[in-house]
């Protein structure tokens, strides 16, 4: 049984304050223990209130870690959520507490949930005049100023509440509340809470992730998507992304109880939580002082303010006046505790080196403020450049070619008044208006700023406090367990650029993407290398700003909606015959039709026998069909096909091959001339769209003077192939008007007639070498015609067949399939289709390439058949072909590879097609195919193995 705490056990909850709802209590479990919190808490604030100091352990060293930050900058408090929803790895600071939450601390690495994710994810587009990112004081001011001009405004903020640093800050919070209320009144303004803008791309295209239901817990409505990706195109962007406080590298700076000073303040103000009972504050700028004063006001004893600056200024006076001990010119040199913080070591700092005696100060909390890093990630992603501002000890935005402006502390402005004025001016400017006092009204009047005491002391750069031992516990990246010692090893190995240091040490590559560690890494590295921080710069910030679940990026494009599934008009007929389907592009095509007890080989053998000996039929509707019309259609097709098309007579059909300009086969198929100015072109199933694109490209870009139009008619026709020596008998019964003799209806001709009472276009085309017909009808009549063929064929044992049988039949005849027997390096001549390449035409696309030295080489890979010595050995498709046995020492010269391989009932043996170097010269020779450790002997043969005389096509 887990240990139970009383529900009132909030030892660190302050009696008042915070934006939490104390009237309601939420129960949750962490690491198996039951706790309580309030609506408005995050998991981190609730754990702190309950006195839970250690939340997780670190990834490489297994060191105890506690809550360090307050938002998405958190590097330590990684948790896995098990209920009421599943999350593999999130930060406790970004999990809004809900009833029944079950979470576990992580050892630095997440674990995927076992079951599938039942939630729905979605995506939505937004277009706006002004996108404001961040709803702190600068962002609120910018959004208001823009909205008041009537502009379409989107304001996105990653927190559950707008307000940023104002939240819970008394009078300042009231200012924020008025801004929030006013924004809600603009119909053209969209406010997105819990929405993190995580990517900034070209032309002001930004992606944001909205978390819609996690905070509702089990009460989340099922019809609402859990998370939603916003794809936003903005006229102008105002980045009010704030700043993150940065830590300082000193010994054991990772112990639970060590926390960013700004985070500690936020826990007091927003959540009514005291971070500890007795605190030491270590600061290199003024920010440590208001944090110390706030904590003291909240009842935490402040044991010492340790200021690295010898001259601490006005703030130090304030603190002393309030009775807080200040040690200027000192530094924290280490911490103790097992594992949570119990004391802090303090020494004097002289020229960056600790000197003099060590003072040990008992404390359970150590607040750290090494200065501020403007959150420039999105600006940097937008292509913006940064510059180092030595006065602020910060990298601040310089310039960007995109329509973007950075305001507030993200731009280096650190007083509330500056942030608000900056934001308001930028917001108005973004909406193409100059701000006026009248427009902006109370926006320009900033809220009272308790931190503005009318003067402060400048920050100092303080990255590293050396000693007392090797800097193996001086952490620069808490989440990756990267220490100063690791950085020293990297610089010692000769690395001197931050990008290299990052990759060598992994600093800045974790969940938090360097929010706390990035600039610190630069600072420490600059110190180690003895160069200026400005010379090193930062690493390149890339999307995503915060981790984005793949499920959210996939949205609805998963499962059945991942890619369209295309089925033919005869799909129900195939289902009724228990077809096994294969995917051909997006199409579902019957692969074979097994009878009870049959495996695939038996079914295919039976289907092949029916086609060769009796009659069989298949659904050929997926072949691409393009209607090519216009006075110049013949000229046009002559230019694209390797053979002559314009001489074709209406009523006749010709096989044709298309090449790319480099002479390689693009596609093949048949061309029907349907009128003097009209052709019906067929393509391979997978290439239908590509061939139409190809035709349109040439027509638009090279031959706009040709009077030709193309249209896809693939789905306007359903096609049934009727194949075999008895096919004429079956068709005669269904199409009495159709001439039955080959004299009146010859091979490679088409006729319009009626089949089973339906208007049909019947072609004498054979992809099997047998007497065969292709019957084309409007798709809505296809089931009727299919069933009529089945009935009429029943006396002859008609058999439906699938794509596997089609492949066996065509391979027995040596007919190549583009994309299976070709790979973009194969010419028509390589395939033995030289007869289909016109020598007479002055030009066609690809012709010049056929005369290139490489293309005309006699030892190119050519399509041949391979016959294994053992008639039962089925060669693997993709298998390599070699000349010699036993294999010579590597590298073994490869002659080519197997492109198709089948068992043939008609031949009574297995066979393969292969592309083999100088293959036609090798006909009759013995070569080898390595299969595992065995060399299979095979004989090279002409590719047409069945009926080479072509005696069977007329029945």
């Amino acid at each position: 049984m887990p240990r139970q705490l009383p529900s009132s056990a909030h030892p660190f909850r302050l009696p008042t304050g915070g934006r939490i709802d104390r009237s309601r209590t939420l129960t949750f479990r962490f690491d198996g223990v039951a706790y309580t919190g309030h609506p408005g808490d995050t998991l981190a604030s609730a754990l702190l209130a309950c006195g839970v100091r250690q939340v997780a352990t670190s990834i490489k060293l297994g060191r105890a870690r506690g809550v360090f930050g307050v938002g998405s900058e958190e590097p330590n408090a990684l948790v896995r959520i098990e209920a009421p929803y599943a999350e593999a790895m999130v930060t406790a600071t970004t999990v809004e507490l809900c009833e029944g939450l079950v979470a576990f601390g992580l050892p630095g690495r997440g674990r995927l949930p076992d079951g599938p994710d039942p939630a729905r994810y979605d995506a939505v587009y937004a277009h706006c005049d002004v996108l404001v990112v961040g709803a702190g004081p600068a962002g609120l001011a910018a959004a208001l100023a823009a909205a008041r001009t009537g502009a379409r405004v989107v304001l996105a903020d990653e927190n559950g509440e707008l307000g940023g640093s104002l939240l819970g800050r008394g009078a300042a919070d009231d200012w924020g509340a008025r801004a929030r209320d006013e924004l809600a009144g603009f119909p053209q303004t969209r406010v997105l809470r819990r929405t993190t803008v995580f990517g900034y791309y070209d032309d002001n295209y930004l992606l944001a992730l909205e978390r819609r239901t996690a905070h509702l817990g089990a009460a989340a409505p099922a019809h609402v998507s859990r998370e939603r990706v916003w794809r936003i195109r903005a006229g102008r962007v105002v980045l009010a992304t704030g700043a993150h406080e940065r830590p300082i590298a000193f010994a054991d700076n990772d112990r639970p109880g060590v926390m960013l000073a700004s985070a500690a303040r936020a826990y007091v103000h927003r959540f009514g939580v005291a971070p500890g009972r007795r605190a030491v504050v270590f600061t290199a700028c003024d920010s440590g002082y208001p944090a110390a004063l706030d904590l003291a006001a909240a009842g935490t004893e402040v044991a010492a303010i340790v200021d690295a600056r010898p001259q601490a200024g006005l703030w130090a006076q304030r603190a002393r006046d309030a009775g807080l001990p200040v040690r200027a010119g000192h530094a924290v040199t280490g911490t103790s505790g097992d594992p949570c913080l119990t004391s802090v070591a303090v020494r004097e700092l002289r020229d960056g080196e600790p000197t003099g005696p060590v003072a040990v100060v008992d404390a359970d909390t150590l607040l750290v403020s090494g200065g501020w890093n403007p959150t420039v990630h999105l600006f940097s992603q937008a292509g913006g450049t940064l510059r180092h501002d030595p006065a602020r000890v910060a990298f601040v935005p310089r310039e960007c070619r995109q329509a973007v402006e950075v305001v507030g502390s993200a731009a280096g402005a650190f007083t509330l008044a500056e942030c608000v004025a900056d934001g308001a001016r930028a917001g108005a400017r973004a909406a193409n208006r100059e701000a006026t006092e009248a427009d902006l009204g109370h926006v320009l009047a900033p809220p009272p700023d308790p931190d503005d005491i009318g003067g402060g002391a400048p920050p100092v750069p303080l990255w590293l406090v050396p000693g007392p031992d090797e800097p193996r516990t001086h952490f620069v990246d808490l989440q990756r367990d990267v220490t100063v010692a690791d950085l020293r090893r990297a610089t010692g190995a000769g690395l001197s650029g931050v990008e290299h240091l990052k990759r060598y040490t992994t600093a800045g590559t974790a969940h938090d993407q360097g929010r706390t560690s990035g600039v610190l890494t630069t600072g420490v590295a600059a110190h180690l290398l003895g160069v200026e921080v400005s010379a090193l710069g930062t690493t390149t910030y890339r999307p995503p700003y915060t981790p984005v679940p793949f499920a959210a990026l996939a949205g609805r494009d998963r499962g059945a909606l991942h890619d369209p599934v295309r089925v033919t008009a005869l799909h129900d007929q195939h289902l009724a015959r228990d077809a096994v389907f294969e995917n051909v592009g997006q199409w579902k095509r019957p692969w074979y039709y097994p009878l009870a007890g049959e495996d695939m080989a038996a079914a295919v053998a039976r289907e092949c026998r029916a086609a060769r000996e009796g009659v069989a039929f298949m659904d050929a509707s997926t072949l691409g069909k393009i209607d090519v019309q216009g006075a110049d259609a013949g000229v046009f097709l002559d230019r694209l096909y390797t053979n002559m098309i314009s001489t074709l007579k209406p009523g006749r059909i010709r096989y044709g091959v298309m090449c790319r300009a480099d002479g390689m086969v693009l596609d093949d198929g048949t061309v029907l001339r349907t009128a003097d100015d009209r052709f019906l072109v067929t393509t391979t199933t997978g290439n239908a769209a590509a061939v139409l694109d190809w035709m349109e490209e040439w027509l638009q870009t090279e031959w706009p003077q040709l009077r030709v139009h193309c249209a896809s008619v693939t789905e306007q026709w359903a096609t049934v192939a009727l194949v075999g020596p008895r096919s004429r008998d079956v068709l005669s019964a269904l199409a009495p008007q159709l001439p039955s003799s080959s004299d009146d209806f010859p091979f490679m001709a088409w006729r319009d007639t009626r089949v089973a009472g339906v208007a049909a276009r019947v072609c004498r085309i054979s992809f099997s070498g047998e007497l065969a017909y292709e019957i084309n009808v409007p798709p809505w009549y296809a089931p009727h015609v299919w069933e009529a063929i089945a009935r009429a064929g029943a006396p002859y044992g008609i058999t439906p067949y699938g794509t596997e049988t089609m492949h066996v039949l065509r391979a027995e005849k040596g007919y190549p399939v583009v994309g299976q027997d070709t790979d973009g390096t194969v010419t028509p001549q390589d395939l033995g289709l030289g007869w289909a390449v016109s020598a007479k035409k002055r030009d066609f696309v690809g012709k010049r390439s056929h005369a290139r030295a490489d293309t005309a080489r006699p030892d190119r890979k050519q399509l041949v058949a391979l016959l294994p010595d053992d008639r039962h050995t089925l060669l693997p498709e993709g298998g390599q072909v070699v000349a010699d046995a036993p294999l010579p020492a590597p590298p073994v010269p490869m002659l080519g590879h197997i492109t198709s391989s089948y068992r043939s009932t008609a031949l009574g043996r297995t066979f393969a097609l292969a592309l083999v170097r100088g293959g036609r010269e090798r006909v009759g020779q013995r070569i080898y195919v390595p299969v595992g450790s065995v060399l299979v002997p095979v004989t090279v043969a002409e590719p047409v193995l069945y009926d080479p005389e072509g005696a069977r096509r007329d029945g």
């Binding site: 032309d203 490209e697 870009t701 012709k847």
Partner: protein
């Protein structure tokens, strides 16, 4: 995601388009008259500038028109878009 100004439809997301490589590389008037090297230059050689680059795009999932764009390959800025047969802008 670029915002590409289709000369027929107006500005649209890059995802609606397909890229067609360098523009103004015409199919040779008489390929048979070219040497192997000249033909290979047409087939295989294209410019790869850092800076303005005239290139072909097709608005595949909308009007299906091919047109030309001048894009700065260093900044991804689209500097011009014009129809097939129209003269390109002079980019200094």
């Amino acid at each position: 995601m670029l915002l590409i100004p289709c000369p027929w439809c107006g500005p649209r997301d890059e995802a609606e388009f397909t890229y067609g490589g360098q523009a103004h590389v015409p199919y040779p008037r008489d390929p048979a008259a070219l040497t192997d090297e000249e033909w290979a230059r047409y087939l295989f050689f294209r410019d790869n500038p850092k800076g303005p680059h005239a290139e072909r795009w097709c608005h595949t999932i909308s009007c299906r028109r091919w047109f030309n764009v001048v894009r700065d390959t260093a900044t991804n800025e689209v500097l011009a878009a014009y129809r097939i047969g129209e003269a390109g802008p002079v980019i200094s």
